[in-house]
Amino acid sequence: MSIAPSPLATEHASKAPQESHGLTLSQFLSTYVFSKDHKVIGIQFLFSTLVWFLVGGLLALAVRWQVAWPWSDVPVLGKLFAQEGGQMSPEFYTMLFTMHATVMIFLVIIPILAGAFGNFLIPLMIGADDMAFPTLNMLSYWFMWPAFIAFGASFFVEGGAASGGWTSYPPLSTNVAASPGSGWGQTLWLVGLTFVGVSSMLGSVNYMTTIILMRAPGMTMFRLPMTIWAMFITAVLQAFALPVLTAAGFMQLADRTLGTGFFSPEGLIVNNATPGAGGGQPLLWQHLFWFYSHPAVYIMILPAMGMVSDILTCFARKPLFGYRPMVYSIAGIAGLGFIVWGHHMFMSGMNPALGITFMVSTMMIALPSAVKTFNWLGTVWGGRIHFTTAMLFALAFVSMFIIGGLSGIFMAATPVDIFIHDTYFIVAHFHYVLFAGTAMGVWAGIYYWFPKMFGRTMNEFWGKVHFFLTFIFMNGTFFTMHILGAVGFPRRLADAYHYETFHHLQPMNAFMTWCAIGMVATQAIFAANFFWSMFRGPIAGRNPWNANTLEWTAPSPPGHGNFDFQPVVHRGPYEYSVPGADKDHLMQTDPPNAAAAAAALVAH
């Protein structure tokens, strides 16, 4: 144990006396596998989602391959999935982007934010020993497994995995005849989605309960770090939006397996055959789906926004600029997020007058985002910036979110959306918010909290190499997509070059694919750094970054029960560089002294 201490061994260590080092099977299972400790569960989520991240990234590469060089033999993958002599079929391409998006959204971004970081950080940052309901928490992880299995298995069933797009619009997705050969894939997709839903639901009610009832003495709501506020509001979003998708998923499942017709109108003629029951409405699915999936895009970014706020303050050594406006703007984004779903349906045949109301509400949702952006800039202003890897990723988040957010304005403008809807402009938009935004936030979070998770810091040099290459390649891949979108280049096309309007875009696409290949290859550096540092990185100590929040008062990694003392909170989380204080940071638990008290008086 002293040679290469397993970072998760603390629970065992605090229980078992020194002499018995061997774990029995049941001890092993209850410590590492069926653990109810929020930290272990968080790390389980982290590992699972990173593995799926790799899968999603490889699927993205295959997508990019086809877009750049359609119908050419795919290297490596082509042999695995040998279609016609290593060349992709259009069905296969459709499946690729559907599963790429599904994996990235439902198995990577949502669970890594709420599941990995939410689990690991919430109790630590509010001063609790665990979640309110540890067993439920464990279940929320294990409910991901049926989803992993369903999504994973769907690649191998006859006809391949789901291929109706991640939006799964009926009647294409409900009518088996509409995509011949697709039997199980889509059904498994719906099953997987339901389990992801149950998992998130179990997680979110638990998080809310924990945050409301289990804060350390002195930790008022307005002393919570932004990460926790973001997690809290994300949990609210999940709790209220997700059941709608679950309900809709059941209806689509019934349409597929039982032959009901919730989403199929009367009198379809699909593939020269008339399917059974009708009388339903295709647009109903879109409303239900986006009622969830629009809030879901904020589920996919708010926690990253929270984490980035914490990281920016720490490495700018400055209080967060406008703490309360930051909190209110998260709440504002969440609230408005429920009334803008129609902006995905401007061209869907929905009443155009309704489109106008959705356009106005969508414009308004840019406001709280603007408040956040300006406050981040305000936080950096006048700071003492330390360019650590975590900080660089956090800064990249801000820089890239601006791009992704601003492209949202083009699409919110209904007349412009007529032209750019379902083009690569949209693809550029959401990769800027999701990959260039959230994923940067996630990496910032990993580099920042890695010491707390594993007791060791990651290598800074290789971290910076990873950052630099990812940043360059990512912009090479995604920025050019805006231009493709301006030409009207449609998304989800296996081959667009036979259109006169688009045939000159192939070289540009090839460039983007080269960048994407570089981007995925770069991640090897990250993976190596991650695993090497887990076992060999420099020992971190409790507070390697001299940060203020509660998790940094606990041991690294924290033992079972998290705290070896009773944390009592005396101040907000961002008291950096307080005038008159001897250190440039005042932890939330530091007892008040005269100087700090005076400073606090000045500030409020």
Partner: protein, 330 residues
């Protein structure tokens, strides 16, 4: 708690966990932490409320879809077209409301440690819940026996008396077993038939003649449909059975199982089974919870659990209060 008494070990560095759990090892077990709750609620109760709000959204989505589908549909069957009986539905509503009362009484009894009484009320709640499900099952059975399924192969619903309907009836009448059965019916002496059966037999013979010809006119098929299962006119009193009128051919000879025409019927069936089905699943979950509780001593210590189960049960009750008028009355 005295702030100055708190140790602040955050300046330790390099301790990590080499050497086992070194600096933390001196704790036997871990610190029992104190909290500052934001709401005067127990954890169980809070999470139950939060869980119920997710449930509200779930049913809101289902009910919303129902409303959209119903008002977007060209036609929608009247409750009697689909053999829904208001009295049965109202009775079931009453049963469920009673069970909501008994669970409260169980809680009251448990709070004052009258464990026996609490158990008795709990048993009654359980029985009432089961009764509700039983009635529901009876109603489902009535739908099934009329060929009303939400899905295609087993359901016998047709939207309109068109050529597809004609050929479906012909196909059913042409099944080998059916031909035999019909022959037996034809051969039975008139005295062995009740007057109703006799009249139905004549009408059935006419129907068979009408559909025998493959060049059916829609007009004739409407007559056929009306013979197989007449749809009661608006406001007409409905006869026996499960709220439907009892003199269609399918009613007199249940083994006939001829396809029926209910305009808007398949979507109606889909939504009906969807809504009541998910409600029934929630009832079953409630019953499982009650069964677990029945295995425990229902004293004041358990009142929190009973209260949460009761909250859930009230919610299930409330959903039904919405479903009943939407499905049975409008």
């Amino acid at each position: 708690m005295n702030a100055s008494a708190i140790s602040l070990p955050h300046d330790h560095s390099g301790h990590g966990h080499d050497g086992g759990h070194g600096d933390d090892g001196h704790h036997a077990g871990h610190v029992h932490l104190q909290y500052q709750p934001g709401l005067p609620l127990s954890r169980g109760k809070l999470i139950m409320w939060l869980f119920l709000s997710t449930e509200i959204m779930f049913f809101a989505a289902l009910l919303g879809s129902y409303v959209v589908l119903r008002f977007g549909a060209a036609v929608w069957p009247k409750p009697h077209h689909v053999h829904l009986s208001e009295p049965i539905g109202a009775f079931n509503t009453f049963v469920l409301i009673c069970s909501s009362v008994t669970i409260v009484l169980a809680l009251e009894a448990a709070r004052v440690n009258k464990t026996g009484l609490a158990k008795a009320w709990m048993v009654l709640t359980f029985v009432l819940g089961t009764l509700f499900l039983g009635v529901k099952a009876y109603e489902y059975q009535a739908k099934f026996s009329h060929g009303i399924y939400p899905w295609a192969p087993r359901g016998r619903i047709h939207e309109r008396p068109d050529l597809y309907y004609g050929s479906a009836v012909r196909a059913r009448l042409g099944e080998a077993a059916m031909i035999e059965r019909l022959q037996q019916l034809d051969e039975r002496p008139a005295e062995s038939l009740s007057p109703e059966e006799a009249s139905a037999r004549t009408r059935l013979q006419q129907v068979r003649k009408m559909v025998a010809n493959p060049d059916q006119q829609a007009f004739d098929l409407a007559v056929v449909a009306d013979q197989v299962m007449p749809l009661p006119a608006e406001g007409a009193s409905h006869g026996a059975g499960h709220g439907g009128s009892g003199h269609g051919l399918n009613d007199t000879f249940p083994w006939l199982k001829l396809p029926i025409v209910i305009p808007g019927g398949s979507m109606w069936a889909s939504t009906y089974f969807l809504l009541t089905g998910f409600h029934a699943i929630h009832v079953i979950v409630g019953l499982i919870v009650f069964a677990v509780l029945l295995g425990l001593r229902l004293d004041a210590k358990r009142s929190g659990m009973i209260e949460n189960a009761g909250l859930y049960w009230h919610f299930v009750d409330l959903v039904w209060i919405f479903l009943f008028p939407l499905l049975y009355l409008f």
